[in-house]
Amino acid sequence: MHKNKFSAPQTLKELSKALKTKKENCFIAAGGTDLAVKINKNRIFDYSIIDITKIQELEKIEMINNSIIIGACTTMQSIENSEILKVYAPALVKAASKVGSTQIRNRATIGGNIANASQSADTLTVLMTYNAEVEIINSQGKIVTNKVNDIVKGLEKNLLNQDEVITKIKFKVEDNELSSFSKVGARKAVTISKINCCIKIKINKSNLIEKAEVYFGAIGPKPIKSEIVENVLVGKKFSKEVLSVLLDKSSLQVNEAIPTRASRYYKRIAVKGLVDSILNDLIEQEQSLEGDLYE
């Protein structure tokens, strides 16, 4: 009978070596919160596991110049508590804080959330809004960089090769950037997104929105970019007054994304709740920014 193998490389070099023998039913565990459920659900009995969470360099959160670099094995809990991310990528902090339960967040990692590629993944919506990239290592030790958007197929499929593993997540941040995330599920916490949203805006000195990036999650196989909503924001004065048109356009966006699904009747209204919460959060962030300036 097959003997299940478990390996836990401690360096990237060891990881590459381990990847050389990776075949079907050999899984990468980067926390295992989705993997364990899948193995159980699909009744997989004969399998091997490469646990990458012992590779210490994959647990770091760094900022180099304008780039944020997050190790693939950084847990949701670490992201939630990262001082760097709280300042430079508040949407990611928020998304990480809304993933599953406390127990799940203590183990689930950002790399795992990307590779698992669920249509409801919370951090994916944010990472795509930030146009994030991932570093991928293969069995030859070769490292390539790819857009998150390009390796996530959605519906729990990714486009990684059999011998590839995500090692780092990178994205650029700018000054005067605000971002927020919101989701709605069946209940307040420990819930899967029925729809989620991330908005990132850059405000100029005259308080006009210079740039806007908007993504909606869970209304397609993977998060979708919303030019409809972005266009509403760009060039507008940043205030509560953009709200009503923002709400309408968000509904419109949902309608366009899922014109026939039965859930559209609910989601096109529920999206208003997301956008309302996000806008309130952005206004709060901006006020605290101003507060900092005056200090």
Binding site: R43, F45, A186, K188, S263, Y266, I269, G273
Partner: protein, 751 residues
């Protein structure tokens, strides 16, 4: 009530708390026996199909010992709802069924040396389903296009009535009609179903399992295995919750069969998916209520039709309809009322007990209708209810037992005061914003205290005082996690004036416990078994005193029992009860023991009122219960901490019923909510703080005035929440649960 109570009414700590909190408690899944086999059931994946099972490949898996299907089992039909042979009910289940009648039906059992071999074999069993058209939902059943068994899908129908409904409706100024539906609900006990069975050295079958009625398990197991009752020993194990879900035998008979066939211990465990799909659920219902009222707010007549989804087997088809019906006559004083209950077969999970047994369903709709009636004439909903609720000691209009010391009126008035009802009603709208709407609502509920008046309701108690100074009480109780054992101890302690830690009450075991007529169900345990323990304790107290007098040559009037000591008035010579027990054996040549039978004297009603404030998000449709107050007429609390636990847990279930819990079954009969990521119960972040008030006015027929609380707690919050949502949104949502989607739909339809 009696202010001199010493143990009753005190929040004493129950003995099992430490083991449960520290993980030391051993549940069936923790138990191991020498040479034990592991087993799992294969459940049907189709709602209605002829089946052909090919087990050849699966049998080749190393470690597999046996795979049984319908072909291998004794063809003895039973009804898992029957708790003793006197309950007449159609017997239409087998330990493994010949056909798939719902997704989750038991079609095979796999037994092997290890859990892994069993799981591998389950995957290798090939089932060929020849699908038949199916019946999903009450409306589909009513059409009788596809008939599941017999000549019609209507499994049971009965009318209950009083007065003259036609005449009464003529007198009504308004007739208010509502149609509401309630969902199938999963019990969500933390411990999944489990069972361990073995044959002992003299051929007895011993079965350990978390269950509610050992004598029911014994009866069904003995029946299907064609064994005498006296050879079947069922031991109630430590239980991680039931809520009715472990009431009907599901695993016991099949596990006992495997152990008997293989002559080795067999442990059968279900996972969460198995439990959600393959056990029992709260019956779904569609209820039509018409209430005739006068302009000045008196209910003159009411007509209720409850159509009930009974699921694939007969089980509780009759009981659930009657339980719903009987409650309708015991909350409001209505001269003319007619209730019709119809239970239908469907190709879905069968119905069974679920905390409240019909009360949650019937009140879920009637209490919304009461609000609508009050609204129709512009009367405050609390005042409207106060106009119509029953009075203490009223007779039941359809001949069921007297209502007893019914204190619903106090519950309402006490609650209104604590909740600040009038003021909040005035001010609630001030909180509204563009996005959020606030509302308040309330609802009333009633439940019973056992089976008296419907089925035999008695229990036997064997109580001894041992020379080791332990009071040993044998009574067939099953602690489901509510603290039943502690409750019994406090009752006995009060009578005997002894510390409850000196009292030992083993739980139900058919070889140890004297016969109990109906088990730990129907809210009968504190009232009936507690009453029995009190009576037994009184009798042994009497015997203790008599023996003391005989041994010490004194008169009864001069004997004092205090803090576990017995002595003559003004004497410094004190004896423990154990010393007297020893003296009794030595000098009187008998045990200090009493065997007795206790018949329940009554079946009073209990009452509850729930008051809530909700905040409704008009964008996301999410509802937050901002405030909730539970007022309970319980007669007398035996242990207020346990009562509080019941009220909080019941509210948690009822909030779930109101907002999110639902076994969702699609048109093919597939269960969509097969695990806890899709079956949503109220979790800690969504759980409000539960405020509570007790009305303790003493029920004379209950032990120290006590009546039931454990089931009623899960009834009133749900309709109170829907009333509050409807108050906030000015809607009339009558479909449970009021999910975000349904709330948004109601708002959209209103606009």
């Amino acid at each position: 009530m009696n202010k001199k109570l010493k143990y009753v009414g005190k929040g004493l700590i129950r003995e099992d708390s430490y083991d449960k909190a520290s993980g030391k408690a051993k549940y069936v899944c923790d138990m191991e026996k020498h040479n034990m086999l592991h087993a799992r059931l294969l459940l049907s994946e189709k709602a209605h199909a002829e089946i052909k099972i090919d087990k050849k490949q699966a049998l080749k898996i190393p470690g597999i010992v046996a795979i049984y299907t319908y072909d291998d089992i004794p063809k003895i039909a039973y009804n898992s709802h029957q708790w003793y042979p006197g309950v007449s009910a159609l017997e239409d289940e087998y330990i493994l069924n010949d056909k798939a009648r719902f997704v989750g039906d038991r079609i095979a059992i796999v037994v092997g040396e290890t859990k892994e071999s069993v799981n591998r074999a389950l995957k290798e069993i090939k089932v060929e389903y020849n699908e038949l058209s199916n019946v999903i939902g009450i409306e589909s059943a009513e059409k009788d296009e596809m008939i599941i068994k017999g000549n019609t899908n209507l499994a049971f129908s009965k009318k209950l009535s009083c007065g003259n409904i036609d005449e009464s409706f003529k007198k009504a100024d308004f007739i208010i009609e509502d149609i509401g539906t309630t969902q199938k609900i999963h019990h969500a006990a933390m411990e999944t179903h489990s069972c361990l069975a073995e044959k002992d050295e003299i051929g007895n079958i011993i079965v350990w399992m978390p269950c509610q009625v050992v004598f029911q398990e014994q009866y069904i197991i003995a029946k299907v295995l064609e064994m005498p009752y006296s050879k079947v020993r069922v031991i109630k194990s430590i239980m991680g919750g039931s809520f009715g879900g472990k009431g009907q035998p599901i695993l016991g008979p099949i596990c006992a069969f495997a152990a008997k066939e293989l002559n080795r211990p067999v442990k059968l465990i279900m996972d969460r998916k198995d439990v959600i799909q393959g056990t029992r659920s709260r019956n779904a219902s569609r209820i039509i209520v018409k209430t005739g009222i006068t302009k000045d707010g008196k209910i003159v007549g009411r007509e209720i039709t409850a159509n009930i989804d009974g699921g694939a087997y007969y089980t509780n088809a009759a009981a659930i309809a009657l339980a719903m019906g009987k409650k309708s006559f015991r909350l409001y004083d209505i001269d003319s009322q007619i209730f019709t209950g119809n239970t239908y077969y469907t190709n879905t999970i069968p119905g069974g007990a679920c905390r409240g047994y019909g009360s949650p369903q019937i009140h879920a709709v009637t209490e919304l209708n009461i609000d609508n009636a009050a609204r129709k004439i512009g009367m405050d909903t609390c005042e409207f209810r106060l106009n119509n609720v029953v009075s203490p000691n009223a007779e039941d209009p359809i001949g069921a037992p007297n209502l007893g010391n019914a204190r619903i009126r106090e519950c309402i008035t006490k609650g209104m005061k604590r909740f600040n009802w009038y003021e909040r009603k005035q001010l609630i709208n001030n909180k509204n914003t563009d996005r959020y709407a606030y509302g308040i609502g309330m609802a009333c509920a009633t439940h019973g205290n056992g089976y008296h008046g419907a089925f035999p309701d008695f229990t036997n108690v064997d109580i001894s005082i041992l020379p080791s100074n332990v009071v040993w009480i044998k009574v067939g109780i099953h602690d489901q996690g509510c603290g039943t054992v502690q409750t019994m101890k406090q009752i006995a302690a009060e009578v005997l004036d002894i510390d409850p830690v000196s009292i030992n009450i083993p739980q139900a075991d058919t070889f140890i416990s004297p016969y109990d007529s109906a088990g730990s169900q129907a809210s009968r345990v504190t009232f009936v078994c507690g009453g029995a323990v009190k009576r037994a304790a009184e009798q042994i107290r009497e015997k203790l005193i008599n023996n003391f007098c005989k041994l010490n040559g004194c008169s009864k009037e001069k004997v004092i029992l205090k803090d576990g000591y017995i002595y003559k008035e003004n004497s410094s010579e004190k004896y423990t009860y154990g010393q007297i027990a020893l003296e009794t054996e030595t000098n009187l040549e008998e045990s200090l023991n009493v065997n007795m039978t206790y018949k329940s004297p009554a079946n009073p009603a209990v009452y509850a009122v729930s008051f809530v404030e909700v905040k409704v998000d008009k964008y996301t449709g999410q509802v937050e219960v901002k405030d909730i107050l539970e007022v309970h007429d319980i007669g007398q609390s035996i242990n207020p901490v346990l009562v509080e636990g019941q009220i909080q847990g019941g509210a948690q279930m009822s909030i779930g019923m109101a907002l999110c819990e639902e076994i969702e079954i699609n048109k093919n009969g597939r269960v969509k909510s097969e695990n806890f990521s899709k079956y949503h119960i109220i979790n800690a972040p969504d759980m409000p703080e539960i405020k509570m008030e007790l009305v303790e006015k003493c029920e004379p027929t209950g032990p120290f005035g006590a009546k039931s609380v454990g089931e009623l707690v899960a009834v009133a919050p749900a309709p109170a929440i829907l009333n509050a949502i409807n108050n906030a949104l000015d809607t009339n949502i009558t479909v449970y649960p009021a999910t975000p989607e349904r709330i948004i739909e109601a708002i959209t339809n209103k606009e």
